[in-house]
């Protein structure tokens, strides 16, 4: 009897422990990415490509904000420009420089499309992401704000629309 009980307990413990392990494995590793790295995943996942990671820091060392955000017309919003490869090869957005003249050209797919698949569009490390509770949830969504009880590192930023 005792042995059976012990086995059962052991079984349950195993199940629990292994589920915890599994969950831990599937949780995204805490992102340590650079402040202001932009993940753009409007269309990439659906097209079978990794999402694009745009490093702001790298570009601001070489260009002032004005060049992209005034001259090239990039909106101040992650994913807000609806950039496609068709626009890029037409010389719009990234294509204004990534054309083989100012910077490397579009054949280097993996240099931009380098994000972890499934990562939503976001500005990494933004203040909104750092808020402990979700910043704003419309009442129309009809869902309770249950995320408030979760530890901060499990609350995922909502993908920008």
């Amino acid at each position: 009897m005792n042995i059976k009980n012990t086995m059962e307990l052991l079984g349950r413990w195993l199940v629990l422990a292994s589920f915890a392990g599994l969950i831990a494995l599937f949780l995204p590793a805490p992102a340590q990415a650079e402040y202001a790295d932009v993940v753009i995943n409007n269309y990439a996942d659906a097209a079978g490509m990794r999402p694009v990671v745009f490093p702001h820091w790298y570009h601001r060392i070489r260009f002032r904000c004005k060049v992209c955000h005034a001259d090239l017309g990039f909106a101040f919003k992650a994913g807000g420009n609806k950039i496609t490869m068709a626009k890029i090869i037409d010389g719009q957005f990234c294509g204004a420089c990534h054309n083989g003249e100012i910077s490397w050209s579009v054949e280097n797919c993996g240099m931009c499309h380098s994000g972890v698949p499934g990562t939503p569009t976001q500005i990494h490390g933004s203040t909104v992401q750092r808020l402990v509770a979700p910043a704003y949830k419309s009442l129309q969504d009809g869902k309770p704000a249950d995320a408030q009880d979760k530890p901060a590192d499990k609350v995922e930023a909502k993908p920008a629309k």
Partner: protein
């Protein structure tokens, strides 16, 4: 019922070591170890009674792309990208954001980013005008310096869409900024973020010595006062 459980247990028990071996090189293992420890503690005492339950883990500063959790280490391109620390060498530091003081770097001439896409000789159109915004509450008043902003940006980036260029025409509050409006269009996303360490960068003009915070009406009407 029991047999199903055992089958699941066996399957999972086989899967876990295999999967964790794959992730052994990454931080995922560390994370799972932490989680397991927390779980085992949870059997003894409520896991709610810990310090900093809602505080994010301290981040490893300026991680290289393949280790930063956003770039896919399985992508060869991720390993070719420049690690930020290589670029930041010699730049003045700050306590938040990229941990680089970008404005200082530019003003000291350590960086000379182009103001034009192709012509490196184009000079920025800089305007030196400070705007003081009085703050109702006890925080120091806000001084908005046009100079560092125009060194990076063009007038049209902010005016008139984000800020109407007219005194008193712009309602600004911290809630809006935290949610990414007004100053928050850039601050908290790219330019220095809103943290306890950075308040004084904007709230920089102390109140006059004789200034007293206005009492709330609830306090004035308080019968037990």
């Amino acid at each position: 019922m029991n047999s199903t459980l055992k089958v699941i247990a066996m399957m999972v028990a086989v899967m876990v070591p295999a999967a964790s071996a794959v992730a052994a090189e990454t931080q995922a293992t560390k994370k799972s170890m932490e989680l397991k420890e927390v779980d085992s503690d949870a059997n003894k005492v409520s896991s709610a009674n810990v310090f900093n339950r809602l505080l994010k883990k301290p981040k490893e500063k300026n991680a290289a792309p393949p280790e930063d959790g956003i770039h896919d280490p399985g992508n060869e391109g991720s390993h070719v990208l420049q690690p930020p620390l290589v670029s930041y060498e010699g730049l003045p530091t700050s306590e938040f954001g990229n941990y680089v003081d970008w404005v200082q770097s530019l003003q000291k001439g350590l960086l000379n980013p182009r103001y034009d896409r192709v012509d490196p000789s184009v000079e920025a159109l800089v305007m030196d005008l400070d705007i003081v915004r009085e703050v109702k509450a006890s925080m120091p008043d806000v001084v908005f310096p046009h100079k560092p902003h125009t060194q990076w940006l063009h007038c049209s980036n902010c005016h008139p869409k984000i800020f109407i260029p007219q005194k008193g025409a712009n309602q600004i509050n911290m809630s809006a900024i935290l949610l990414g409006q007004k100053c928050g269009v850039c601050h908290g996303k790219v330019s220095f973020p809103i943290t306890t360490l950075s308040c004084k960068k904007c709230h920089s003009k102390p109140k006059p010595d004789d200034w007293k915070p206005p009492l709330s009406s609830a306090s004035v009407k308080n019968p037990w006062r």
